[in-house]
């Protein structure tokens, strides 16, 4: 059947998605906040807000600033913690027919292993995204994802503690060579790569003569970072055999097509849902109609 063949079903490890269009972790929270705005069950999936073992309050002060076609955020990984996520949020997400990808991060190794063990207790979870861009205490606040050796140990640990769960390693663009980090994740047993997380930036309040954000640094997202993301996906996709999910600045159907042409097997939409919540579904419909654009 022609229509069957055209269906753009997508897999990472053993996890299947009805289409290769997902919501990126963060902007959509736990998904349900957006259930009036987006028909979430029609998307390949929703990567839920990154959770840590314990709840996190997030950063004080201003958390958002619009830039030229971009958005700086300093949310600081505010999240409800593993217990409430698995106890309250996940059951509601599943009940709503949303396909979750559970995003995890940890500040140190102890928390990390406990969080993996907690996750392994939930048999509903068949795919996890490891947010390797979170500041790591043992690395003096640097992200795990900037060091291939750390990526190797973090992904290996997840591989052994979550057997049978598909693993996505989400990479930061704030590195010299994203290809080597993608390769490290693949070598350690990741089933897929997500690229990219936000680009580090800052802004200054000229009237107050001080940085806009208390933490000074913030993460840039939105159309402004698309070229950075596209190049990262292009290089990562050439460095590994596992599927790469492209994210970063997608704000039109055409933008998504660029990521597929660069070698992505799926895309994630983040910031764009703030102003155009219909975009992810339109991308999915276009793929349904025309099939996946061939890689160049």
């Amino acid at each position: 059947m022609v229509t069957e063949e055209k269906k753009s079903v997508f897999r990472v490890g053993n996890a299947a998605f009805i289409n290769p269009v997902l919501l990126a972790s963060g902007p959509a929270g736990y998904g349900l906040e957006y259930s009036g705005m987006i028909r979430l069950a029609r998307l390949g999936g929703v990567v839920t807000k990154t959770i840590s073992l314990k709840p996190r309050a997030g950063n004080p002060g201003v958390r958002l600033r619009e830039t030229g076609s971009g958005l700086l955020n300093s949310v600081g990984l505010e999240n409800v913690g593993a217990a409430r996520f698995f106890g309250e949020k996940l059951p509601a997400i599943l009940e709503a027919g949303i396909r979750p990808v559970v995003s995890l991060a940890a500040e140190d190794w102890d928390d990390y292993t406990q969080l993996l063990d907690e996750t392994s207790c939930h048999r509903d979870v068949d795919v996890v995204e490891l947010n390797l861009s979170c500041p790591n205490v043992e690395r003096g606040g640097l992200a795990v994802g900037t060091d291939p050796a750390k990526v190797d140990s973090y992904v290996k640990e997840a591989r052994s503690r979550l057997p049978g769960v598909a693993l996505l390693a989400k990479l930061t663009p704030n590195v010299q060579d994203i290809a080597s980090l993608a390769a490290a994740a693949e070598g350690a047993g990741a089933d897929g790569i997500t690229a990219i997380n936000t680009v580090i930036g800052m802004d200054i309040d000229i009237g107050k003569r001080r940085p806009v954000f208390r933490m000074v640094r913030a993460g840039l997202s939105g159309p402004a970072i698309l070229p950075v993301a596209l190049e990262a996906v292009w290089r990562a996709a050439r460095a590994v055999k596992i599927p790469v999910m492209g994210a970063g600045g997608i704000s039109s159907v055409g933008d998504a097509m660029k990521f597929f042409m660069a070698g992505a097997a799926a895309v994630q939409v983040g910031t764009a849902i703030f102003y155009d919540p219909g975009l992810p579904e339109r991308i999915a419909e276009e793929l349904e109609r025309s099939g996946l654009p061939a890689r160049i």
Binding site: E33, L64, D276
Partner: protein, 270 residues
């Protein structure tokens, strides 16, 4: 947690009128299915089809009737200028009504409503909503603005029992800030009411708490913060509140916009 049902609508501009050099009132046709709203709730408007500006812009509901949705728009930058200059017939995407906490009806009590700048919008909606419901208490509006340009005359005067104005440059009403005016009115016994409602810049609300906090039984305030999602998802618009000795962050867009003013941990918020 239940799924959120808040969604966006296509809304057609019926009229757009300048009421002062920097402010306008934009009236939309109430979109089909647009739910009833409460005072303090807002809409977020996509002012452009392009990515400039990127985010939707939040606006308090100034009035909502069976047929119309009215916003008070001050030109503050590119996005607000686009909204203020939208002509009749133009269709914009707006999400709403947003906000999970609103101003409670004062019941039969008298109330003082303090507005800074376009903080006026939710006060007008409050007054109209309460009067439509038959609320009997007296409503005093104390409005502060930088100058006469931002303090349009008269279109809202009939909504309140008494209106007092302050302008920083003295071009209309009391010369000075709105908090000083309120303190003076209270001292002189020209107004007295158990309830205080406010909406305006954070600095104004903080000064109200510090200088007139003990004069009212309660003070509820509708806050502003830069917003992205408007539905509690992104956690970008948080305000720090003191809750049992701890600081907790609440989303202005979804846990608010209305909070008890005495709960706000001002020193944690800039």
């Amino acid at each position: 947690m239940k799924g959120n049902t808040k969604r966006s609508y296509k809304a057609r501009v019926i009229s757009s009128e300048r009421i002062s050099p920097s402010c306008g009132v934009v009236v939309f046709e109430r979109p089909e299915g647009f739910p009833d709203a409460l005072p303090g709730q807002f809409v977020s408007v996509r002012v452009s089809d392009s990515t400039v500006p990127l985010l939707r812009r939040p606006y308090s509901i100034m009035d909502l009737t069976g047929l119309e949705l009215a916003l008070l728009v001050k030109v503050a930058g590119r996005g607000s200028a686009m909204l203020a200059s939208a002509g009749p017939g133009e269709v914009m995407d707006l999400a709403g009504p947003l906000g999970g906490a609103s101003f409670d009806d004062p019941g039969g009590d008298d109330a003082v409503l303090v507005a800074g700048g376009t903080g006026l919008a939710p006060m007008i909606f409050s007054a109209r909503t309460w009067k439509r419901r038959g609320s009997r208490g007296r409503l005093y509006l104390v409005h502060g603005a930088a100058s006469r340009d931002e303090s349009p005359d008269s279109f809202f005067e009939a909504d309140f029992d008494k209106v007092f104005r302050a302008t920083m440059d003295g071009s209309a009403g009391f010369s000075g800030d709105v908090v000083a005016l309120l303190a003076k009115l209270l001292d002189e016994g020209r107004i007295s009411a158990p309830l205080l409602y406010s909406c305006g810049p954070a600095g104004m609300v903080r000064a109200l708490v510090e200088r007139t906090g003990d004069r009212f039984k309660s003070h509820h305030t509708s806050l502003e913060a830069v917003m992205a999602c408007g539905v509690g998802a992104c956690r970008g618009c948080t305000v720090p509140l003191r809750e049992g000795g701890r600081i907790v962050f609440k989303a202005v867009c979804d846990d608010g916009t209305v909070f008890r003013a005495s709960d706000i941990a001002w020193e944690e918020w800039w």
